[in-house]
């Protein structure tokens, strides 16, 4: 693979499998949570990874951050192969790639005041800055609009609202000046009215510091608002990946179409019509269906083809890829 200075992250056929049910003299079964994902993320870009629970999106996020070691394929960060690096050799990555977790109620240490929550990464990475650590902490609080910072720094997490806590989580992620942030459902636990303000905040710090975001979510509507590109995941694979406009205007994979059909916008006429919803549940990741993993639920699947041959991602429109034999 050519090193490309504009690409911050490259995934090449990444697989992350977990063994389950190991017994003596018996090979364990494998949960194929991520099963062959190839994609790139450019500097300052936001890529949304959208899918239902159990599709492997969180495992993919954790693999990208090398909190998990992939079972196969390669993870290349800034031109460096980090696929199998051990923790001792990952300290630089821990600084450059950060995470914003889902639950602002459990991700902040309740015994630490906000100041210490934000100081912690600086201490671990031995960063002090010109004006000392307190200046960096206050600047991060200002970046996330917790103003005046002197007032928020001594507070404990329980004294803040859910939205304010998620602002602290954003501040903690940006304080080390990272290149990449993986945000795993960062707004799904917040009220609708607060969601937008956190997404706007992430947009703002992204533009200010040119950070690439990987936005993991089940919600296509916020993905549309927040992202440049969207990857739709199903059963451990990417079903479709495209720039937002192209994907929303013309979804090519039947699964993407179904996902969009299932999601309502506010409209008083909704109550007079049924929503088109495909029946069934996502497949087992231990023994995924042969061929296209979506074929058992797919309304247009062709026997003898879709249940036999695994579809590869094909570029059907400019930069718009879909893994479906029948899409054109």
């Amino acid at each position: 693979m050519m090193p490309d200075s504009n690409v911050v992250l490259q995934l090449d056929n990444v697989q992350t499998w977990f063994p389950v049910g190991a017994k003596v003299f018996r090979q364990p079964d494998m949960v194929k949570a991520v099963n062959g994902v190839t994609l790139n993320v450019a500097r300052g870009e936001t890529l949304a990874i959208v899918g239902e629970s159990g599709c492997g999106k969180t495992t993919l996020g954790r693999t990208i951050l090398r909190l998990l070691e992939p079972t196969g394929g390669r993870v290349i960060y800034d031109g460096r192969d980090i696929t199998h690096l051990t923790e001792d050799h990952l300290e630089w990555l821990r600084r450059k790639a950060q995470m914003i977790p889902q639950d602002p109620y459990s991700s902040l240490n309740p015994a630490f005041p906000i100041y210490r929550v934000l100081e912690e990464p600086l201490v671990i990475h031995n960063v002090s800055g010109d004006g000392g650590r307190s200046e960096l902490v206050y600047k991060a609080l200002e970046d996330v609009k917790l103003i005046p910072p002197e007032q928020f720094a001594p507070k404990y997490p329980h004294m803040l609202s859910g939205g304010q806590r998620q602002r602290v989580a954003v501040a903690r992620a940006v304080i080390l000046n990272p290149e990449l942030i993986v945000a795993d459902e960062p707004v799904s636990m917040l009220d609708a009215s607060v969601r937008i303000s956190i997404l706007n905040l992430m947009k703002e710090v992204q533009a200010k510091y040119n950070i690439a975001f990987i936005y993991i979510t089940h919600d296509l509507a916020t993905a549309k608002y927040f992202s440049d590109r969207i990857a739709i995941m199903y059963a451990g694979r990417v079903a479709e990946i495209a720039p937002v406009d192209s994907l929303i205007r013309e979804p090519l994979h039947p699964y993407t179409k179904a996902l969009m059909e299932a999601l309502p916008d506010p409209d008083p006429n909704n109550r007079f019509r049924d929503r088109l919803a495909i029946p069934g549940e996502p497949p087992s990741l231990v023994r995924p269906p042969p061929g296209c993993t979506f074929h058992p639920r797919c309304p247009i699947a062709k026997a003898g083809w879709c249940d036999v041959e695994v579809p590869e991602l094909r570029e059907l429109r400019p930069l718009h890829f879909a893994a479906c034999h029948l899409a054109d």
Partner: protein
């Protein structure tokens, strides 16, 4: 006549800092086969309203009064025993948020579904089991589900079981408190379709509690917007979605990100007030971009044919 009518309902909780005014002077009604959605941010009192209607209350109740008329009877006057016998399950049943996790893991589904029939109506086991099969069929589950244990079912199937339980006594009203928020998009769409079908075929009335205005539009004939313990606006789905009058309703609608359409969602600045010391007058005043002097007085909700508790309507409303 309305099937369920709530008048001047109040529910306060006692805390060490003083009473929390969770539900304050809330009134609305639901007709046969009709759905009212109560929508608002967390802590606005929508779930407390449901608790007050079904009298499922915590111990620290400070104030609990108002009228709840079910089919022409004020059931607030019932004592605990009458209320349990006449209202719960038979008159009003409930599907709570995450109710699928409340199924007993060591009991077969069939027994859990028919239990209210044997305990409330003293129906024989055989007949009750038949009715359980029927109820499960009506929510799209195969008959053999009666013999399954909860761990053998998926989340969506368990949620269907809980809906079957809520329907088995043929209640007039079903309270749905975020019935799909723990489910995936696709499963959610399937459950909503089921609820639509039951609404049409069985003529059940729903009180649908959700924070999601897009989801509310899937079922609601009427929408009630709650803010800080009060009902700030109520109207038909058409009125609320197409011509909202209260500034809070307008801002809430503008905060919804759309999948179709190009409008950019906007956030609502500020946070809801403390319900122990809510602001004088209109409780939305500190966050309201249109607030003026008069807003320190309590606004009436009725203005002509519209119900929105905002002084701006006195001047004929504001530009949306």
């Amino acid at each position: 006549m309305a099937l369920l009518e709530v008048k001047n309902l109040h529910l306060y909780y006692r805390t060490s800092r003083g009473p929390v005014r969770a539900v304050e002077d809330v009134s609305w009604q639901i007709g046969e086969g009709e759905t009212l959605a109560l929508v608002g941010e967390s802590g606005c009192g929508k779930t407390s309203t449901a608790s007050a209607v079904t009298r499922v209350l915590p111990r620290n109740v400070h104030r609990y009064d108002g009228e709840v008329w079910l089919d022409g009877t004020n059931v607030m006057a019932y004592d605990e025993e009458e209320f349990r016998k006449e209202v719960r399950w038979k008159g009003i049943s409930m599907v709570f948020q995450g109710a699928m996790n409340s199924l007993n893991p060591v009991m077969k589904i069939g027994y859990q579904v028919y239990e209210p029939l044997t305990t409330h109506l003293e129906i024989e086991k055989e007949e009750a089991l038949d009715r359980a099969r029927e109820a499960l069929k009506s929510v799209g589950l195969p008959e053999y589900t009666v013999k399954r244990y909860p761990h053998e079912l998926s989340g969506g199937m368990k949620q269907r079981v809980v809906i079957a339980m809520a329907l088995i006594m043929r209640p007039k009203i079903v309270i749905l408190d975020e019935p799909t928020s723990a489910l995936d998009v696709m499963t959610q769409a399937n459950i909503i379709n089921l609820l639509k079908k039951l609404k049409q075929e069985e003529r059940v009335g729903y009180l649908f509690i959700t924070h999601d205005l897009a989801l509310a539009s899937e079922l609601a004939d009427q929408i009630g917007i709650m803010y800080a313990g009060k009902l700030v606006e109520i109207g038909t789905a058409e009125e609320i979605y197409s011509d909202p009058k209260h500034p809070y309703t307008q801002l809430l609608l503008k905060s919804v990100p759309l999948l179709r359409g190009t409008r950019t969602p906007e956030s609502i600045p500020g946070t809801p007030p403390d319900l122990i010391n809510p602001p004088e007058g209109c409780r939305f005043r500190p966050r309201c971009p249109f607030a003026f002097e008069k807003c320190t007085q309590e606004p009436p909700i009725k203005w002509g044919d519209r119900l929105a508790a905002c002084w701006l309507l006195e001047k004929g409303g504001m530009a949306a």
